[in-house]
């Protein structure tokens, strides 16, 4: 068998094993369900508030937008954080010590993270269909949009997560930055409130990042078409969504391998041992 193919298969199985572990480890499963539950609970509060200028439920709109935000959280933060943590604990070094191990490791992470995103979306929509009014989940075109937005969204965010994860020296130092990054971005990306109410320059900054476009893409897939009227230009802007997310994906896929190689090159038994000693002292 060809080594690259063997590594690809090993990577796929690694992703599947890790996904299964998440679903069978009580704390991990609880964390996943808690996130979904908390999301639904918060949106239920705003179920009867209307999106300004319409009589459509703000809760439904926000629920869908947050699914888009969730892709970024999983793609960037989960991926980045795992990479920081697993560099610290020596998982990455083990991958480096076996032939094509790094490729298999990364593919595994992509698979397990994507699987978690797909699960989150599925469970949220399943429960949301009963609790919220106005979700347009009966259209085949909508599912198609959901599929390409999800895939492109993961491609745009996972490499970015890997790059950011390579930059932080330790998991502890990474935490506050993730929060700042996501808090700031979701505030200017129309996740909780339409972006049209923001000053123009903030809107432009928001439009540079994938969070806004993932939210918009999700809304276009799962809300009635008439809701496009509250968006910028009264349009779902599919072409722009495709363009911006693709640009992030291309940039990330070009940058990530080099950054990851550089990070992996610096790993050795003594660097992991030094971190272990540091972690045990503090």
């Amino acid at each position: 068998m060809n080594p690259a193919l063997a590594a690809a298969r090993a990577g796929l199985s690694r992703g599947w094993i890790e996904l299964r572990q998440t679903l069978t480890t009580r704390a991990d499963l609880f964390g996943l369900l808690f996130r979904i539950g908390a999301l639904l609970a918060v949106m239920i509060w705003t179920r009867h508030t209307h999106v300004p200028g319409t009589n459509f439920s703000l809760g439904t709109t926000t629920l869908v937008s947050v699914l888009g935000l969730n892709v970024v959280v999983s793609g960037v933060v989960t991926m980045g954080d795992l990479l920081v943590a697993e560099r610290e604990d020596g998982t990455l070094l083990r991958a480096k010590a076996i032939p094509n191990g790094m490729s298999g490791y990364l593919l595994g992470k992509v698979v397990s993270t994507s699987g978690q995103v797909a699960l989150t979306v599925a469970v949220t929509l399943l429960v949301g269909a009963f609790l919220f009014t106005g979700l347009a989940i009966g259209r085949p075109g909508g599912w198609l949009t959901l599929a390409w937005v999800l895939v492109l969204g993961l491609l745009a965010t996972l490499p970015a997560g890997a790059v950011l994860g390579s930059l932080f020296p330790s998991q502890r130092s990474a935490g506050p930055w993730w929060l700042l990054l996501l808090g700031g971005l979701s505030a200017i990306s129309g996740i909780f409130y339409p972006i049209t109410h923001l000053p123009a320059f903030l809107r432009w900054i928001g439009e540079l990042f994938p969070v806004y476009w993932l939210g918009l893409g999700m809304r276009s897939a799962l809300l009635p078409n008439a809701m496009a009227t509250v968006e910028v230009g009264h349009s779902w802007r599919h072409l722009a969504t495709f363009g911006v997310l693709s640009a992030w994906a291309v940039a990330g896929l070009l940058l990530a391998p080099a950054v990851l190689r550089r990070t992996a090159r610096r790993e050795s038994g003594s660097t992991v041992a030094a971190r272990r000693e540091k972690a045990m002292r503090t």
Partner: protein
């Protein structure tokens, strides 16, 4: 046959100081080499350069016929590195992890070597068969180290690196581990390079001992050869007329001959103890630190 390891004039500089100034040695197939030396002598640096995990400053290094700084994945598949686990792969089951990591080696099987090592067979070999379905985080410290060894050899390496493999082992675990290493070198014909602080371990395991001090190899040979080549004194003990005697002799044989000539049958409880590896080691390192580098090469390849 080509040497598995061939190191010539290896140098490593950090900032302005040489951690390794001139390290040269070689190893053949199936040979077990122990790298000894005081803390900070550069044992770990040396081993990490040979593993391809660290760039060297200068020198000629061939590991399995390739330069580890540039060698590819096919080369990687022929080496094994035993890493110290900490909390990685905590949720994985023991057998699951071993079988998974083994998959990467499958394309690198040759007519002589079937890769990877079958997971169940390997678990049996390292004595982890009863723990096969346990999660890694539920293993004891000793079991975890055995898993580390199993991961290091799952690809049936031609060359295995062990950096202080038995640190923190209890005596029984240490004995089991020594048996395993001897079996690997014997049956699998793997060359093994290990670093250790335990002289007893080095003496028991290694075919050849290298002592690293002051950035260079100051001794290279088997434990017996090092002791013989070192002008250490042997200790002679005996008893006569119920009285015990001890004497440090430069030439123990001549001393004992003279002893018998003078006192004949009244000599009893004779014991001759050659300088131990520990004595040799301490003497050599002391000499090197006092700045009278005297390279002792008992075996030249």
């Amino acid at each position: 046959m080509e040497d598995v390891l061939d190191v010539r004039g290896l140098r490593m500089r950090y900032g302005g100081t040489d951690v390794l100034s001139d390290v040269s040695f070689a190893a053949r197939r199936g040979e077990v080499l122990a790298l000894l030396g005081p803390n900070g002598a550069g044992k770990t640096t040396t081993i990490e350069i040979l593993e391809g995990f660290r760039m060297r400053s200068a020198g000629e290094v061939r590991v399995l016929g390739a330069d580890p700084a540039r060698a590819g994945e096919a080369w990687r598949a022929r080496t094994g590195v035993v890493l110290q686990s900490w909390r990685d792969h905590a949720k994985w089951q023991v057998r699951e992890l071993l079988a998974h990591l083994g998959r990467y080696y499958a394309p690198y099987s040759t007519a002589d070597v079937t890769r990877p090592w079958d997971a169940d067979d390997l678990l049996e070999t390292v004595g982890l068969a009863p723990q096969a379905r346990k999660r890694v985080r539920d293993l004891s410290g000793g079991q975890r180290r055995r898993l580390d060894v199993a991961i290091g050899i799952v690809g049936r390496p031609e060359l295995l690196f062990l950096d202080e493999p038995t640190a923190g082992f209890d005596p029984e675990a240490r004995r089991d581990f020594h048996d395993l290493v001897r079996r690997l070198a014997g049956r699998e014909e793997a060359a093994i390079l290990l670093t250790t602080h335990d002289l007893d371990e080095a003496e028991r395991l290694a075919d050849r001992i290298l002592i690293l001090s002051g950035g260079t190899i100051i001794a290279d040979g088997s434990a017996g050869e090092l002791a013989r080549a070192m002008p250490g004194r042997s200790e002679v003990r005996w008893s006569r007329d119920g009285q015990r005697f001890a004497h440090a002799a430069d030439d123990a044989t001549a001393f004992v001959r003279e002893l018998f000539r003078q006192y004949g049958e009244s000599v009893g409880d004779l014991e001759v103890r050659r300088a131990s590896l520990e004595d040799t080691y301490l003497a050599l390192v002391r000499q090197a630190e006092q700045g009278s580098p005297r390279t002792l090469t008992a075996v030249t390849a």
